[in-house]
Amino acid sequence: MNANGSVEVNGSSGANGTSVSIQNLSLNFGAISVLQTLNLDVAEGEFIVLLGPSGCGKSTLLNCIAGLLDVSEGRIFIKGKNVTWEEPKDRGIGMVFQSYALYPQMTVEKNLSFGLRVAGLAKDEIAKRIARAAEILQIEPLLHRKPAALSGGQRQRVAIGRALVRDVDVFLFDEPLSNLDAKLRAELRVEIKLLHRKLENTMIYVTHDQIEAMTLADRIAVMKGGVIQQLDAPQTIYNRPVNRFVAGFLGSPAMNFLDGRLEQADGDWHFVAEDVRIPLATYAFEKDPVPGPAVFGIRPEHVAFNSGTGWPFAATASVEVVEPMGSDTLVWLKLGGQNFTVRVTAERTPNNAEAVGIGFDPMRASLFDAATGNRL
């Protein structure tokens, strides 16, 4: 909704120019509109993550940038060159796919060199580039194996290598870690981050995993229904989501939402839900508030648990369900007649039905318009 107008490069990572620029891009499959007049500028060397639920158009956008899908309207610039009509190979991109997409009949070495052989590079140049990629990714011992003889993590490393040898300016990742188990995913996530630091390439990374997005990105573009909802640094998106969708999509366990009303009494604004009255003196409104229905959101980890009454808002409630998760525990309560969760360190896990005190500062909360879902 914002980000629909032209978004200026805000240069969050030592940018010295625009690497990828998408201007008024639309894509329709028949009557279905997948991307709607989308604008996105990616700075040189920036790591940008396209985040959203399945079907939000994030992979489609990536395929458009790669040139694997023809756009319906708009233009795509890579390194200042209009590539809207260019073939994928002429765009200066390398791409890593979710299913690795390694050629099964070729050895790792042949997989890496395929694109270079098609382009007709000299033999010694090919060998040099493969040696470099293999060294960076530590896959030298695997060069003469076939993909079937590799583990999932090794395959994905080879797939990254295939993008690496192309010596391109822009890397495109299409959910590269989704097929791996949790442990490998965490390892490769760090490796991709290190790789980005080493190569300083522009990287555009598609995922539905918010942890990957938060840990990897310089900026995250949260997408829904073919529209970028919010484009910002991870911390900004996490702490100041522009609408209820973004607030609910990021964060695990999810943000608490309370339905209620905004009311003004003696010049002070309050959020009221049944017997709960939350004073909003510390909340920074985006625009002047008006009385009416609203949604109050606060993350479970921003709620203090049994820690005195010094908080702008404090209440007591009885514990309904306790979910221990190892490092910490999620406590379910009722606040204003609605579900409310609090994140508690494992040592302080309460018992069921125990009466506990909670408190928080509305400064850390988010208020949304009940009708539009936009931040207030």
């Binding site: 395929n63 991109i93 694109g115």
Partner: protein
């Protein structure tokens, strides 16, 4: 948790293991009722199908006097290979009396180019339909598939006229073209489904790597599709070798394929019916498809299954 704890006795201890019920693999009996039914049925069905073949082989090895005795199931008293030699090299078919050998080489000259041409065309067709979704691809595909359901007989006469007009009527190349065209619908369907079952991302990766239409076909798709090629080769070799209708319509007596010659030998109305020669000629004609099946049966099943599961 504690309500079903069983204290296990030491093995070989008092009471023995049998006191605790079954343990380890379940014993299987060779002559169980299930096995008797299963193998009994299989044996009966196999005999039912093999009996005619047995009669053919036995008869082809007998002389005519022995055949006239009428014991078709009895093994030959005196084995003779004369009927086989006659069927191959001197049986009369119409005007020629040089046996099936002429037809055999005609069939080889028809089958090999037809198989290669039809598979080459159909695989490229299927690849284009599966991976390069050009405008009107679906319409084209539907038209092609409808072609598979039109009876051949409807098209025989128009094709005779077309071949006559382009001057190919009666020649082997004319028949090769006819076979290639009629193999197209089913083979294209086969290849299209196989290529569709391949991961789309592989094709995309190859495009990012810069390979074009033919580059992807020859370097990525072909090496991955051996099973479906084997299936197509078997279908085409047996189909074209066994064809009678097109052979008899589109060729002349000196270019008749083996099947047409066989028919002329067996169905001759003049002279004595030489059953032993007829049997030998039939086995000779059926030998090529039979060998193809024996050599590639395993690959065939694997290819069909692969297409079925993924397609």
């Amino acid at each position: 948790m504690s309500d079903h704890v069983v204290s296990l006795p030491a093995i070989g201890g008092a009471g023995g293991l049998e006191a605790y019920g079954p343990s380890g693999p379940k014993p299987r009996h060779t002559f169980s009722r299930r096995n008797i039914f299963l193998y009994g049925t299989l044996i009966v069905v196999a005999l039912y199908y093999l009996l005619p073949l047995y009669v053919m082989v036995v008869t082809s090895l007998k002389g005519m006097p022995e055949i006239r005795l009428g014991n078709i199931f009895s093994p030959p008293m005196e084995i003779t290979f004369e009927p086989w030699v006659k069927a191959w090299s001197s049986a009369c078919t119409g005007l020629n009396c040089d046996g099936l050998s002429r037809g055999f080489w005609n069939s080889v000259r028809i089958t090999i180019p037809s198989v290669i041409l039809s598979i080459a065309l159909a695989s490229v067709n299927g690849y284009a339909l599966a991976n390069w979704r050009f405008k009107g691809a679906d319409t084209f595909f539907i038209i092609l598939i409808v072609g598979a359901f039109i009876p051949y007989q409807v098209m025989i006469y128009p094709i005779v006229i077309i071949l006559r007009e382009v001057g190919l009527y009666g020649s082997l190349s004319g028949l090769v073209i006819v076979h290639s065209i009629f193999g197209m619908p089913i083979l294209t369907l086969l290849f299209r489904n196989y290529f569709t079952s391949m991961p789309e991302e592989l094709f995309r990766a190859a495009r990012v790597d810069g390979a074009g239409f033919w580059g992807i076909y020859f370097r990525i798709m072909l090496p991955m599709s051996l099973p479906i090629f084997v299936v197509a080769i078997i279908l085409q070799v047996t189909g074209i070798w066994n064809d009678f209708l097109f052979g008899v319509v589109y060729t002349r007596p000196d270019t008749y394929p083996m099947t047409v010659q066989l028919n002329n030998i067996v169905n001759s109305v003049q002279g004595v019916k030489e059953y032993n020669v007829n049997m030998a000629a039939t086995i000779l004609t059926g030998l090529v498809p039979l060998i193809v099946y024996f050599l590639s049966g395993k690959l065939f099943v694997r290819g069909i299954a692969a297409g079925a599961v993924k397609g």
